[in-house]
């Protein structure tokens, strides 16, 4: 088999292996995005400077698009809910608990995983500031 054929064979194999891997999002990435969107909306409504310069209707639409991705990811993890439960241990650090709870509620149809974390808009902003700007992220572009 010459090199061109080897190259072609690998190209075909990786088309199938690489693309699906790219299409799936980590739940933590989605949860951080969710927090960033809440921050965006809350800053907008407080008449403060926002990161993404969106209006409320656009944030609402992005929220719906994000929820679609969270629902898809939660369904993928249906038989592996321990993975989501383990994320709950550190979720307070980056304000992501609410999304994990949402995912668990969705796949288990129960609220036994509630962390009773109730974050204020200010706490959410602090979490978002620690991360790279959401509006420049791959996730933002995907849901826009």
């Amino acid at each position: 088999m010459d090199h061109r054929k080897i190259f072609l064979a690998f190209a075909i194999i990786f088309t199938f292996l690489y693309l699906p891997a790219q299409a799936s999002w980590k739940l933590q990435e989605l949860a951080r995005g969710s927090n960033a969107l809440l921050v965006e909306m809350d800053l907008l409504l407080a008449h403060k400077k926002t990161g993404c310069k969106l209006d409320a209707a656009s944030v609402s639409q992005l929220s719906q698009n994000l929820r679609m991705l969270v629902d898809t990811r939660a369904t993928e993890l249906k038989d592996n809910k321990e993975q989501i439960v383990s994320l709950l241990k550190t979720c307070k650090k980056d304000c992501t608990c609410d999304t994990y709870e949402y995912a668990l509620e969705k796949i288990t149809e129960s609220e036994t995983f509630s962390t009773t974390t109730k974050l204020s808009a200010e706490q959410r902003q602090t979490c978002a500031k620690k991360l790279p700007p959401f509006c420049q992220s791959r996730l933002f572009k995907a849901i826009k």
């Binding site: 090199h3 190259f7 990786f14 698009n65 609410d98 974050l119």
Partner: protein, 500 residues
Amino acid sequence: MKKIIKCVAAVGLCVLMLGSLYSCMSVTSKSDTSALPREPQQVVSENDSKKAEATFKSLMNNPNDGERSRAVANFLNRQRDFYFIAHGMLNEFDTELDRLITLQKQKVLTATDLEKFEQLSFQMRIAWEFSERNMHELLDIYELALYQANDTTAEYHRASGWIVDNIREWLKDGAKKGDSSATISLAQKLDDVNLEVRAAIQKTGKKVIRIPSYKNIYAVSAEALKTAHAQSLKFSQARKQTLVETFIGKEWLQHKKERDLEMAEELKNWSDSTRKPQALDTLYPDAGGPGHVTGNRFPENTWAITLDDGPHPTHTEGMFQVLNNAKMSGTFFWQTKNLKLYPNISAQAKSFGFNRASHSYTHANLPKLSQASLNHEINDAFDDFEKVVSAQPTLFRCPYGACGSMGSNIRQMIAARNALHIAWNVDTLDWQDKNPQSIFERTRKQIDIRKRGIILLHDIHPQSVVALKLITDYLRQQAYLVKPLPEIIGAVREKSFGSP
């Protein structure tokens, strides 16, 4: 061993090729190299490295290093100036928004103000995309120059070295003559590139020759930032009309014209002799605008509360109690799958006088479905809804608000079932927030801005039940009217509208 190395190399190359191919597919990339945006919806591609390389090569296609570095400097100047213009327009938008919010608070906002606001929003969207595109092009070229400056064997090593050496002065010059605040943000982004390139070179084990830091430009005190912002505002106010704004002005006129054409098209439909008498209504089942209800045209101070995704065995009844105690109405958009599981909850809703509507069969993302699956999510959902409720739904809400564009197949299917599509103009974001108090705060602010419309909540989350209590209390305190959605629709179209 050699074979293994060749295989690994081939695999790596494949991954890189397919990775960039996928990146190109996943974002809207732009093929032309002109600085002006052609269409508002076009978004810059950060990963369009080939385009940046082509631009870099064309700039370096000069007889000597002096002219090469000058060509890049001119290019960077132009991109920086465009970036400043876009920032100026964003500043104008912010200022105007503040003014309109003040007018809104004083209740003196006029239709002309709103028209002006629509124009500014349009301008702002273009400015933002324009700003992003130019900034990324600038950063890409800078990154290429940085790599060349750090590689003594690179073709344009010398010219790139001069470019990198002059960037700090170039930034200072930008702050002095242009927009200080935008310069600070640019310096920060350039420094991100510095860090990335440094890490990439160190990873290869090579020596870093020339990587500057602009930290002292952007890591300044809060006072300095405030001064820079004030200077930026002055710069925005003083600057002259540019080619960019002329371009945006033309785009706005085109946008307005298309908007009018859409209205003319609707008018044409209204005068169509094949239309039924309901054609005189402003709202009626239709795949276009008349079949789509947002709440923005409701009478002032009038609200409809809508609750999606249930019925839920406990939370839906919680919602019933809150609404009933507040003597307010609600419309429940339910998944038929859940409705079949809890028919008694539907009967309870009827006894309270709440409206029941359809939210598809299983909350699927409709635009992604085949025709067979769409039939299930819409037609079967309507049929099985009727079996439980003993009436066809006349209101439908697409899951995730995703129905495709006006006139889409999905909208045609909804209209064919004689139902209106219901959107919203106040989003509580309650699915992603467990804190009822912050859900309430977010909702309250939107209610005060909108003054009328449709509030979106979900009857499957515990936090939403608590938030609804706070929202209904507020609506009562502020003397807003909360009415059944079909009743408001009836008032808008001046003809009664029924719903189970």
